[in-house]
Symmetry: C2
DNA sequence: CAGAATCCATGCGGATACTG
DNA sequence: CAGTATCCGCATGGATTCTG
């Protein structure tokens, strides 16, 4: 499987001189960092597509190839960043439901924009691959 | 300094059944991956703020803490992904100018959205830090 | 000036096993 | 069911040196 790792969280010094282009970059990077986990996007898309609370096991089934460690970890990060909610039902057997917060839902549009970019990139890749084959 | 690595480029199998939420996720991830380098955002912001062609050495000065290797590498990736242009002037001494492509400029708005998210996150961090200090 | 090349530390993310 | 715990490979990015 492809690559691993990919950094984003930078904030060189970020002394909160928060108005220059540098400060803006830091905030954008903070925003991207919140989405930059190996599985964050897939989790968000799973939640968006189901459009209601999802149980842990359901996410595990929906997201192909994710390990329990990663699912739990990225879920906690998304929760920490306020993008999703986590509702625990103290039952036996245990039940936990995840849902999008408002911040999370607010990402639908930006994500669409990034999807456009992604499509363009894939298109370019295909073009170049075809050329190379000639 | 903080972390290293951070994956994004996933595409578990991505058999181009490109219409389900899974396919969308893959494309969004491709888009994010294009921005997910340690310095990509800062480079783009540097180009955006200067709003005209920038020379290599100017970027090196503007972006605090970046190494030559990283600058050159991420510039090539951005160029490969069609986000920036690279204009070489065969002079002595050498001169190379980088500028935003249309795809790159198209990111201004999405980046603003991500900046909003980043601001929210930083705000939350500050709030929690304050509470913790009490 | 604008890189290319090399070496190396860090830590993300995968796999597997275990638990309340 | 919904996680936690542990071990480990290896890509990523940093520092430094060399070059056309």
């Amino acid at each position: 499987m492809g690559r691993t790792h990919n950094n984003i969280s930078n904030l060189p010094k970020s002394k909160s001189h928060c108005l220059g282009p540098a400060g803006s970059a830091a905030q954008v990077k903070a925003g991207i960092a919140a989405l930059a986990g190996r599985w964050k996007i897939e989790i968000l898309f799973a939640l968006m597509s189901h459009d209601g609370p999802c149980r842990y096991s359901m996410l595990e089934r929906d997201i192909d190839g994710i390990s329990q460690k990663m699912l739990a970890q990225q879920l906690r990060e998304l929760e920490r960043d306020g993008l999703i909610f986590r509702q625990i039902y103290p039952e036996i057997p245990p039940k936990v439901e995840y849902s999008l917060s408002e911040s999370g839902s607010a990402l639908r549009e930006p994500l669409r924009a990034l999807k456009i970019l992604g499509q363009t990139l894939q298109q370019q890749d295909n073009d170049k691959a075809q050329e190379a084959e000639k």
